[in-house]
Symmetry: C2
Subunit: 476 residues, 2 copies
């Protein structure tokens, strides 16, 4: 097993080492893209499986739109295209000929979907309309990192259309709450949620809501986002409907998405010096059984017992590591770096004492457990304990790394401290002030809290009266 | 409800009408692409859900490779690229700049996957290696039809690597059998399976195996295919491994795929004059309950009973059609065109007699069923009966439309008959002879049967001694 860089002193290299050693992904031969290997893709499948059900529970139907968007359609919403056109990959040739109109690989699908919505909605009876797609998108990023920022990534994008701004607001919040619940229940990741400042909102949106997690290096990382797009796209794509009162009205749109970036989030929030730690709820392998033996007789007895345990663990995703060519020590390290929540070690000495050695990945706690007590029920309880403990650990980390800064010195001290973290501070609402912090401290406003907190306070950077309560952090 | 063209006299228009009326898909604003609407995408989700498990049962792991393939990688396997390069969409610009190397949107992923396999395999211990991905691909087709032939389509592509040709042969057959079982169990579609003639094989393959179904217009339609790629790609991408005996060897590859075309197959195999017929095993809605009422009192009583029935149908995918603005007659027609296997009609008269009216989509059979007999168990039994009956109907159709032709006149008569169908005939093994049939009768060799059948026979077209037993048909 190759070594993993020290998490405390070289987090960026640690991150890359964990991805390589846990065999999640590797760089592809096309710049900025990764190959999702079986173990990495299994994480995405677990995410899809759970989130897909939550999306359906919101009354949203899955669909699929083409990935190629004609230039004339992409170019209609001015703010949107200013944000996205420079990031696009462009198809100019097809079937051996130059195309008469360029096609853009979707960087996101508002344009092609809303131009179609114009055909789908006629009357107020057709509203709300709620769809979602699981798709690949391409954004021409210059600096890429596996999962966190790649040219091509996988995501789900929800798109809805409503009669009123209030209903759209409610949908935006429902999607945000869905991501928050999903992050907590599946990923054991606590997030802060709030509105993005105006200068950080989605291109073409009225406003953007975001969920932000905190990585172990003290940097913020955006999880799912949810946008109220107002009526801008309705106007650009001439979407209208006949209201109950018989008037032509423009519907309000929302869009919201969560991408394979969340796998990177999982790594930087839960990973430790030994590698990945996967919350049991989404672990492709929840329990690994490592048999220990020297002689053939020992092997036979140990494997027989291992398979009996495997069978007894109903409703648990369990794997017996049967590889003969790898030592138990190698296997322990490998399953630790892969973040499997529970390891069961089973050797002749354990068998003689009618026990197994059980090791928790979240705490490294090691205990002898009588064979009679190893069953589906007891292991499922332990998995749930681990899930809750990982959430509690992450909540504690978030809490102890979130501060309030009343002065510029405090803000600077928090942001530039070795531990990193996030700082609430009063903000005058000016982009210039936010940019000053960005330039000086490399920290951005991640989201806005309750403006009442800013009441009567002064922006610590500009000295002007504050209007917003802003959460600053360095970010991924 | 708009009308559907007559299936017997205008099958192509019938096909388009069914897709529109059943609300499966529509043309997108980019040429040759379709939008999968919720009901159409639900069919694909049902297919994915079932087939994905079968793929995993073959010991195959899901992965995801980038969709953009650098020209230098795509161009390495000569036969392959001759087949696919003319069909590719080409990205020449990204991030606002012209690229130094063109990127091709994958038409299939052998090239990028096998160039990566070169890094993944070192020793015989790494073999077999079996992966699969669910992905979108683009092929620049000139004449397109929804589902059957589109520029972008969705599919799964399996890719495996083996130590010997025999193991690769076995994998090819295992994938073919998987498709055959899937087609029969889920889609109620019987298929014929066999080898493609040399001139119809996959570009770069040693040989291609195919499954062929028969549409109601008498044309053959290819379902899943499975290729033994031999060592061609191993050589092109310099993939090698150290054998048990310590020698450098080239592995053998296989690939196999099934696409959204299968939804078109479903339509043309099972659809009838009233529209779609979906086999219960994959129906997004297995039972629809249509309440019938006039007064508010009637409505209350009928809806109460409808929801009670809905609740009693455990493990059945059931929907109560609550739309007030549509008449029962409209609803009957709509659920018929959407192919829902069972319709339950429920009005005041039914309630008075403690019964429902149950209508089977496969036979149009209508029967009064006592309320006490409507439950999850009885309905699941009926759904299974419908599934088996649809398979039996399709098998009967396949049987009665598959003939043997001993002379050119017989071959011509079968192919050109109004009913269409497939004809087994002796073949001399020459591409020229096959092309002659293609030109004269618009029929191609769909697959090859047992060559022993050809023994001592003469090719009815060329008059030369036959070496192969070929299945001719017009095809999609």
């Amino acid at each position: 097993m190759a070594r993993i860089a020290d998490q405390k002193t070289d987090f960026p290299q640690w991150y890359l080492d964990v991805i390589a050693q846990a065999d999640l992904a590797e760089h592809a031969e096309v710049r900025g893209c990764i190959i999702f290997k079986p173990y990495g893709y299994a994480l995405w499948e677990a995410i899809q499986h759970d989130l897909n059900q939550r999306i359906k529970d919101l009354g949203v139907s899955n669909v699929y739109f083409p990935m190629l968007i004609p230039e004339s359609i992409l170019m209609k919403e001015k703010d949107h295209i200013e944000g996205f056109a420079p990031e696009c990959a462009v198809v100019t040739h097809g079937g051996g000929k130059e195309l008469t109109e360029k096609l853009y690989i979707r960087p996101t699908s508002e344009t092609i979907i809303y131009s179609t919505f114009a055909k789908w909605v006629q009357s107020y009876r057709d509203l709300p309309m709620k769809i979602n797609q699981w798709a690949n998108v391409v954004r021409w990023e210059m600096r890429t990192r596996p999962f966190l920022r790649t040219l091509e990534f996988l995501w789900q994008e929800g798109h809805t259309m409503h009669a009123t701004k209030e209903e759209a607001d409610q949908m935006v919040m429902a999607a945000l709450q869905m991501y928050t619940d999903f992050d907590r229940d599946m990923l054991a990741i606590p997030v802060l949620k709030g509105k993005k400042p105006e200068h950080e909102k989605f291109a073409g949106a009225l406003y953007t809501m975001t969920t932000e997690a905190l990585a172990r290096d003290g940097k913020a990382i955006q999880a799912g986002t949810s946008h109220n797009l107002g009526q801008g796209f309705s106007e650009a794509y001439d979407v209208k409907y006949l209201s109950k009162e018989g008037k032509q009205e423009r519907p309000f749109m929302t869009s919201w998405g969560l991408s394979t970036r969340i796998i990177g989030t999982l790594i930087v929030v839960h990973g430790d010096e030994k590698g990945l730690r996967i919350p049991p709820a989404m672990a492709p392998i929840q329990v690994v059984i490592v048999p220990i033996y020297k002689s053939d007789d020992e092997k036979e007895a140990v494997l027989k017992a291992a398979h009996e345990i495997e069978k007894s663990l109903d409703d648990v995703r369990v794997k017996v590591d049967l590889r003969d060519e790898k030592s138990p020590g190698f296997k322990f390290a490998e399953w630790e770096v892969k973040g499997v929540p529970i390891r069961i070690e089973l050797g002749p000495k354990d068998l003689a004492q009618n026990q197994v050695t059980m090791v928790r990945r979240d705490t490294s706690e090691k205990s002898a457990v009588p064979l009679a007590q190893v069953n589906g029920m007891s292991v499922r309880v332990l998995l749930e304990t681990i899930q809750q403990n990982m959430l509690a650990q992450a909540e504690e980390f978030l809490k102890t790394h979130t501060h309030v800064a009343m002065t510029k010195e405090e803000l600077t001290a928090i942001i530039e401290s070795d531990a990193g973290g996030m700082a609430w501070a009063a903000w005058d609402g000016e982009k210039e002030t936010a940019m000053k912090v960005q330039n000086e401290l490399k920290a951005s406003i991640r989201l806005l809290g309750d403006p009442a907190e800013a009441h009567g306070k002064t922006d610590p950077v500009s000295g002007k009266p504050a209007t917003e309560w802003a959460l600053y952090a360095k970010a991924y």
